[in-house]
Subunit: 155 residues, 2 copies
């Protein structure tokens, strides 16, 4: 059963790569045996560097369900998610992840997935991205306002 | 000068938390001294778990510039980006990142940023997210199609 959904994700990825709509990646979100959303990589056509297949599928699934979480749903991706998509999967509270190709396969095709998995755990000073911290004191204010707001919706 | 933009990001975060539109986070994208886009956390109101301030600001900046990359631009965030947003910053090819609060500040307010920084580098079997790999062989097909497509746009 898992294979059916991964196969659909691979099919979406192949179609997308052939049509030149975006990178060779596809994903589907499944709930109770039903595909509730599909996504393909649309970075270069939607002009959105975050429009990876998994993110597109998660956004579509949440839109369809009218929720900001997907507890109890599973995501199937044609390829191992990059760190952005993996973290998005956690934030969406998805129950499980199944994927086909590996981050090494993606790297061999010219994508930065493997590089990003190396960068994320590094201390900021060791990353290639120039990073600085400022106004540490003042930046606590929004959290105090958040804590004090009785209408806040945690996520 | 950096302080001016971080202060604006903090101001956005505070407004957002006070209005209950979403989490206490704000971000701005700056190019040549001009703010080209702003973003606030809209997870619970846009029903999009990926609508963190940085992602919202990156998407808005790309939309405004008509590009899928933001080379030469800098992002200022009221708080250290979570791994999803940090990876999005890399994918957007932003030149630099400045932030105010830390992942520990976010964790203290109930957000998963610190936890996600622990999870991402782990082997899949050691993560809390149930993960499996299937159809490794078949999943290479989209990459072959991608390589063979002369019209592909790399990113």
């Amino acid at each position: 059963m898992h294979e059916k959904y991964i196969r659909r994700a691979i099919e979406l990825a192949a179609e997308n790569a052939g049509q030149g709509r975006g990178g060779p990646f596809g994903a589907v979100v499944v709930r109770n045996g039903e595909v509730i959303a599909e996504g393909v990589n649309l970075v270069t056509t939607a002009l959105d560097p975050t429009a990876h297949a998994e993110v597109v599928a998660i956004r579509a699934a949440c839109g369809k369900m009218g929720t900001f979480e997907l507890r109890g749903s599973t995501i199937y991706s044609s390829c191992e998610p990059c760190p952005m998509c993996l973290a998005a999967i956690y934030w969406a509270r998805l129950e499980a992840l199944y994927y086909g190709a590996s981050r090494e396969d993606a790297a061999a095709a010219g994508f930065d997935d493997g590089f990003l998995y190396e960068q994320i755990p590094l201390p900021a000073a060791a990353r290639t991205l120039r990073t600085g911290r400022l106004l540490a004191e003042e930046s606590g204010a929004p959290f105090a306002i958040w804590r004090a707001n009785p209408a806040k919706i945690a996520y």
